[in-house]
């Protein structure tokens, strides 16, 4: 579904991603872990071109998205993204946060989008917040809304960039719960996270990144019980 070939990214002289090759198959739940500065967020942000790769190609559903002629807006409509800091639009109600993109990109009429928003809000138990503003919500509620906002575009893949890192510990559970449900429904997911429990339970494949490279990858059970690389073992012994 997403094919990454020889992807490199540098900021000035600093090489953040060092020639990464990777393929993400439909229905996979890929969890990316690694120390900070390892390039995992940059890798994720390259997948929908929020970061422009310095070299390499990314192909999504047969379209080369790193081609300068690719219609990046059209491609992004099919890739949902959830951010660490939620990035809800504070100047709009929750309903409008959710319906703005589907309506403006002509995916839905306003009435259809409103129905979709209501259904999605009900699913995450926040239907009474439709007319509230983001500032009136807790962090966990904001992140659930942010997930729902991305889902309203009916994406084929969902990218999560440390979705629980900015949350109070007691709110992490409610967000992970929504992500688990999404995984069970068969959504293709790429998740950058520090939640090892989530990686183990939900992930179908775990990637360990360090120094701009994918050092090790495996299915979660084998990855956590029998890591091959010394660097992975050091990292896991610190976080587990």
């Amino acid at each position: 579904m997403i094919d990454v070939k020889a992807l490199s990214k540098s900021f000035g002289d600093h090489l953040v991603l060092d020639s990464i090759d990777q393929h993400i198959y439909p229905g996979e739940k890929v969890v990316i872990i690694g120390p900070s500065g390892s390039g995992k967020s940059t890798f994720l942000r390259c997948l929908n071109l929020l970061e422009e790769p310095s070299a390499g190609t990314i192909t999504f559903d047969g379209q080369v998205i790193t081609d300068p002629k690719a219609d990046i807006d059209k491609i992004r409509q099919q890739m949902g993204m959830v951010f660490q800091h939620f990035n809800l639009f504070p100047n709009m109600t929750i309903r409008r946060n959710i319906t703005l993109a589907p309506v403006r990109t002509k995916l839905m009429s306003q009435a259809e989008a409103d129905d979709t928003a209501t259904a999605l809000l009900k699913r995450v138990g926040l239907e009474e917040k439709a007319d509230a503003y983001p500032a009136q919500l807790s962090g966990g509620q904001k992140q659930r809304i942010a997930i729902v906002r991305a889902l309203a575009m009916k994406p084929k893949v969902m990218l999560f960039d440390e979705p629980t890192s900015a949350l109070d510990p007691e709110m992490v559970g409610e967000v992970l719960e929504v992500m688990k449900e999404l995984a069970q429904e068969g959504m293709t997911m790429v998740v950058v996270t520090h939640e090892m429990g989530f990686a183990r339970e939900v992930g179908t494949r775990v990637l360990f990144m360090d120094g701009g490279k994918i050092l090790e990858e495996n299915e979660p059970h084998a990855f956590f019980s029998d890591p091959k690389e010394q660097r992975t073992r050091d990292f896991l012994s610190k976080v587990l």
């Binding site: 929020l50 993204m81 990035n87 639009f89 100047n91 993109a101 403006r104 503003y133 500032a135 575009m153």
Partner: protein, 239 residues
């Protein structure tokens, strides 16, 4: 003492009441306000366009430079440099006596001069406002598949507008007072009327002091309205 006061009252009577002269101030004030509002709208539109062009140019992804955008950006820079680098008074005189020397509609000429001047300042204010909005906001908009202009229009500009409202209020007040410069090219605004009445009575004190008080009153009223608007826009911040 009493005689002195009576004398001053008489002067003001002559400058404002006699021969229904207050009507002249009123019509002058009307034209002043008309010029302010139209020039402000003109300047704001110009300012937003220039600010969006300059921000879009600066935010281009490296390797995907757009030639048209570079030309527009250079034009915008030239415009702000010229307007901000020359005196308002000289600009008004050039509009009135050089570019539109044969035009009889001096109010319109004044509006053009004021609007173009105000646009250059508004552009810098708006540009600062656009940059003050968290980059995560436009990333979120773009990641949903919205294009650059929609992201600007629905997400970034409304938030920027709230941030820059105090500066825009100041710009409005400056513009309102600067309309008095247009009297030099003969637009019949408030200062022009005051000068004419002063000339006719051989006494400039009452009409000039009077018009100053009128400007002051309008600025005070406007500042009050601005405070109300700011409180309303902060609605979405309430918890």
């Amino acid at each position: 003492m009493l005689e002195g006061l009576m004398g001053i009252a008489g002067k003001f009577y002559k400058a404002f009441i006699e021969g229904e002269r207050w009507k002249l101030y009123l019509s002058g004030l009307g034209i002043t306000l008309e010029m302010t509002v139209v020039a402000l709208i003109f300047g704001m539109v110009l300012g937003v366009v220039v600010a969006v062009i300059r921000t879009a140019h600066d935010q281009q992804r490296p390797g995907r430079r757009n030639i048209l955008l570079s030309i527009l950006n250079a034009l915008c820079k030239l415009y702000t440099t010229i307007i901000r680098g020359t005196p308002m008074m000289v600009q008004i005189l050039i509009w009135g006596f050089v570019i539109f020397a044969s035009s009889r509609d001096k109010v319109m000429v004044g509006i053009i001069g004021l609007g173009i001047n105000s646009g250059a300042y508004a552009a810098e204010i708006v540009r600062g406002g656009l940059m003050s909005v968290d980059v995560g906001q436009s990333e979120a908009g773009r990641s949903l598949g919205l294009n650059y202009l929609d992201t600007m229009r629905f997400i970034v500009i409304p938030q920027a507008f709230k941030n820059i409202l105090p500066s825009l209020g100041n710009e409005f007040i400056t513009l309102f007072k600067d309309t008095s410069l247009v009297n030099t090219i003969g637009a019949a605004e408030l200062t022009y009327q005051a000068m004419r009445i002063g000339g006719r009575n051989y006494d400039y004190m009452p009409p000039l002091i009077g018009s100053a008080l009128i400007y002051l009153a309008i600025v005070i009223i406007f500042t009050w309205l601005q405070g109300k608007l700011e409180r309303r826009l902060r609605q979405s911040d309430r918890r």
